[in-house]
């Protein structure tokens, strides 16, 4: 019993530390529902820290390719994310008509994009710090860097 308790305590402690580290940046949520035949339904919930950690394991060939593809947009994207971090709660863009609603805003330090249309619903929630990590890593691995 004692041995089991010690092992459980050790395992629990490790899991807590791992969980706290993984969750420190929040989570990325992606929900896509297409209401048509063959439409996709994607519901994803990923710890934000896991994404930037996983990027370290992407082969450099693929990372270079990705950063080359995004090279023109990276400085703009990086600047926008960096500046948006100063505005953790702000409505940026809202488009409303009789059957559609598009909303882009920052909420609690996360970028939130919501699209509600009759044929599709897209909800994206991503911590700005995670986006900054990703753009920084892409910039670092670009051939010009």
């Amino acid at each position: 019993m004692m041995l089991l308790a010690k092992a459980a305590l050790g395992l629990g402690g490790t899991l807590v530390l791992a969980g706290a580290y993984t969750m420190r940046e929040g989570v990325i949520r992606v929900d896509v529902d297409e209401y048509r035949s063959g439409g996709s339904h994607v519901h994803m919930w990923v710890p934000a820290a896991a994404v930037s950690m996983a990027m370290h394991f992407v082969p450099s060939k693929h990372m270079r390719h990705a950063s080359e593809q995004a090279r023109a947009a990276l400085p703009v994207f990086h600047a926008i994310i960096k500046e948006l971090k100063k505005y953790p709660d702000a409505d940026l863009v809202e488009v409303v008509d009789d059957d559609q609603h598009v909303h882009v805003r920052t909420h609690g330090g996360k970028l939130q994009i919501d699209v509600d249309a009759p044929d599709e619903k897209v909800h994206l929630l991503c911590p700005l710090s995670a986006l900054e990590d990703v753009t920084s890593q892409l910039e670092e691995r670009s051939p010009a860097a």
Partner: protein
């Protein structure tokens, strides 16, 4: 004597077993508690972030654009941009005529009008009306008033009237033309704009749309 020591020893064993069991149980309880902690931390951090997330400081200046369409779909577009964000992001865009936050214009001539000379003339002129046109088709008024350049156009051609009013602080116009000969400095203009008080810059009203561009310190549209 031996009976007494045997009794004491068995009591000791019982107590030791009891405390071991208690210790093990508390360790298991602690583990369970620890395992549940991350969910609590996440929940707290998410609620905490929404609580602690500050609104923008009062010194922040926001450029707002609102378009309300009165057609069948009744579309409404609201855009709120922090001026500081625009100031920082514009120089990173290098596309076509836009470089380093400046737009190239051909020899500062637009339809054979020397813009730079025109701006200089307006800048040095006293407040007053520069252009006033009144006709059956339209009314046009260009004036300088309280260090603002005001352009007002009323189109009466159709039965449905349309009205455009542009009000730009002279400091912003000066900053816009402060770059090289053939350039408009957008970043400098935005910087000058951020020093202005709450003001309405553009207002367009016609039978289909209402457009408003204004500047204030709020991070949400009215």
């Amino acid at each position: 004597m031996s009976n007494l020591s045997r009794k004491m020893s068995s009591r000791k064993d019982m107590m030791s077993n009891c405390s071991r069991s208690l210790l093990a149980k508390s360790a298991l309880a602690a583990t369970a508690l620890l395992l549940l902690t991350p969910f609590g931390v996440v929940a707290q951090s998410s609620s905490g972030s929404s609580k602690s997330s500050s609104t923008s400081s009062s010194s922040d200046r926001w450029l707002h654009v609102r378009v309300i369409s009165s057609d069948a779909k009744g579309e409404t577009v609201r855009v709120n941009v922090p001026l500081e964000l625009a100031e920082r992001v514009l120089p990173t865009i290098n596309k076509d005529r836009l470089h380093d936050g400046k737009v190239k214009i051909d020899n500062a001539h637009v339809n054979d009008v020397d813009l730079r000379a025109l701006v200089e003339a307006i800048r040095t002129a006293k407040d007053g009306e520069f252009v006033t046109v009144q006709s059956n088709d339209s009314d046009v008024r260009v004036a300088k008033q309280n260090n603002h350049l005001i352009v007002h156009v009323l189109d009466k051609q159709n039965s449905k009237k349309s009205e455009v009013e542009v009000k730009v602080p002279m400091k912003v116009i000066d900053a816009l033309f402060s770059a090289g000969k053939d350039e408009l400095d957008l970043v400098a203009a935005l910087h000058a704009l951020s020093g202005q008080g709450d003001t309405e810059l553009v207002s367009v009203k016609d039978h289909e749309n209402t457009v408003r561009v204004w500047l204030d310190s709020k991070n949400v549209t009215d």
